[in-house]
Amino acid sequence: MKSLGNIRRAFAPWTDPDAKPYITFRNVTKRFGDFTAVDDLTLNIYHREFFALLGASGCGKSTLLRMLAGFERPTSGEIILDGQDIAGIPPYKRPVNMMFQSYALFPHMSVESNIGFGLRQDGMPKNEIAERVAQMLKLVKLEKFAKRKPHQLSGGQRQRVALARSLAKRPKVLLLDEPLGALDKKLREETQFELMDLQQELGLTFVVVTHDQEEAMTMADRIAVMSHGKVIQVATPAEIYEAPNSRFVADFIGDVNILDGKVSASGNGKIELAVAEGFTIRTATGSTPATGSAAGFAIRPEKLKVTRAAPADASVNAAQGEIWDIGYLGDMTVFYVKLDSGKVVKASMLNAQREVEDPIAYDEKVWVSFGETAGVVLKD
């Protein structure tokens, strides 16, 4: 069976029509004065899901998270958590905890008091608190730092204290606001996998807000791409990348070439698209607009093949052009090919071999080709 991307997930409750969502936003709107931060949004998140809200700043993703935490009240609509409408419940009575972007550690308390803070608020007996705190310190590998104050820790250590503190109360849902934003690249990559392991191990529902698509793609089971207070697409990372439902999503996630054209034939799940670049694309994927309507065709750079000779198979889509620019990135090489129409498309090729016989050079005439399932048709 074919599936999108080279990853198969065993966990996919969103495909099961009988599965009950754990968190539901139903027609939620949030306005600040004249500004609409979240606009009539409906969204389901399932138990034990690692869910990412992805979008540019100001798209409403943080407001959504803050409404889940209880710091903002929706202007209208309802938020249901585990069968209960939580819109009117103050933050200190909600079974969710949040890890803040700035970590928001209490500067006057030691690491262990920070972690135990929430437990003390619940009136947990002292010995149980000590036990739980020790457990949490072990989980984030900070046993040696229990007595330190936050300012005596490095950035990565502070991040782990914040994580331990938000997990100490064993919340039903953990909210993470740009959890890795303040870390450097290497530490960020390590921590991504630590977070994923932790989520698996504890069996919790994670909702993470991020503007970093790589982070969202790596960690999340599903991603909601947001823009201007609305969810544009909710899908697995592979679906978002390989089958974007709109120009916005195709353009927002990763690199993409978009060719505009008109549908010249449609039927049997296949489409012929006459693009402005002067050739016809035959494709079997994406949406199927009616013959005669305008549509875009999105194709990722790595799906394009750059060759000197025209492809032998006539059923393959191909266009001729000239090498405009070449970028060597180490792991891959990016070719910018100027098609005869003047449009420049981007094609990237993995450098699987160290040595290449007679590589393609600047200003050479080349063919750009792709198969009929390599790209998707976008509705306008």
């Binding site: 209880g70 103050p90 700035s102 209490f106 104050k149 490095s154 109360k169």
Partner: protein, 272 residues
């Protein structure tokens, strides 16, 4: 550039003598043997002894200390509350008017503050004395506390409070366990400021005090009108001593904390 040129030395000497010569004179003459303030007749501490037997001065000192402690504490509580309201509720109706009104006493001439308080107490038939002085001191020192605390709150990371709420602390507990400890240094320096303002206030105290509630500055002022005695010099020297010790302790503590903090941070990044 960083050398002791003659010009630099001259400006330092001039500046410091301008500031401290009067005080040095006062301190020196407090140890004078002679009763005449301007004639040096040898070293003696007898005026300090007689100071402690001067019941009038001692009573005034006691009144001053009590007024200062109570009014500084009350002004700190009120001023902190005003600062919280002004920084937290940035959108309430009349905020601009309210913040302007809080700062007004800062620039209001003391004579006017004193006179208006006097008129108020007379109008409502409030007998002037200890309580009226105290109320007056709270009134004028509160805005100073507000300014100090407000500047701290402006740089306060609200997400720390949100984290406390998120972890189950009620708003009241959040304030007591998180907000207050973090802004405590600012609250304390506001309190110290209010305390010193109250200690040395003469004008407003004169307007609002009544029989039996003479503060030390009032007492000193009235005695000086009858001629300066070395006893007054001794009293002032003690006052200077107290203030100087307070300032030194405060600055040493701040400095030490700063150094410790820097060392900790370096250790954290170097040692992991």
């Amino acid at each position: 550039m960083n050398t002791w040129s003659r010009f630099n030395i001259a400006s330092v000497v001039l500046g410091f003598s301008f500031l401290y010569l009067p005080i040095v004179l006062l301190v020196v003459f407090s140890f004078n043997e002679s009763k005449l303030v301007t004639v040096w007749a040898g070293f003696s501490t007898k005026w300090y002894v007689s100071l402690f037997h001067n019941q009038g001065l001692m009573d005034a000192a006691w009144v001053t200390i009590r007024v200062a402690l109570i009014s500084a504490t009350a002004a700190t509580a009120l001023g902190t509350m005003a600062a919280l309201a002004l920084t937290r509720y940035t959108r309430f109706r009349g905020r601009l008017l309210f913040s302007g009104m809080v700062y007004a006493p800062l620039v209001m001439p003391e004579v006017i503050t004193g006179l208006s308080l006097l008129l108020l107490f007379v109008a409502i038939g409030f007998d002037r004395g200890f309580v009226t002085v105290m109320l007056a001191h709270i009134t004028f020192s509160m805005c100073f506390v507000t300014v100090v605390v407000q500047s701290r709150l402006l740089s306060f990371d609200r997400s720390v409070e949100e984290a406390a709420l998120d972890l189950g602390a009620t708003p009241v507990r959040t304030f007591l366990e998180v907000t207050l400890p973090i802004i405590a240094p600012a609250v304390l320096s506001g309190w110290m400021l209010a305390l010193t303002l109250s200690l040395d206030d003469l004008v407003i105290s004169s307007f609002t005090s009544g029989p039996g509630a003479t503060t030390l500055p009032m007492k000193i002022y009235s005695q000086v009108r009858l001629g300066v005695t070395p006893e007054i010099n001794a009293a002032c020297t003690l006052l200077i001593g107290f203030v100087a010790i307070g300032v030194i302790i405060a600055s040493v503590m701040t400095k030490r904390r700063e150094v410790q903090r820097q060392r900790d941070e370096q250790a954290a990044f170097a040692g992991r």
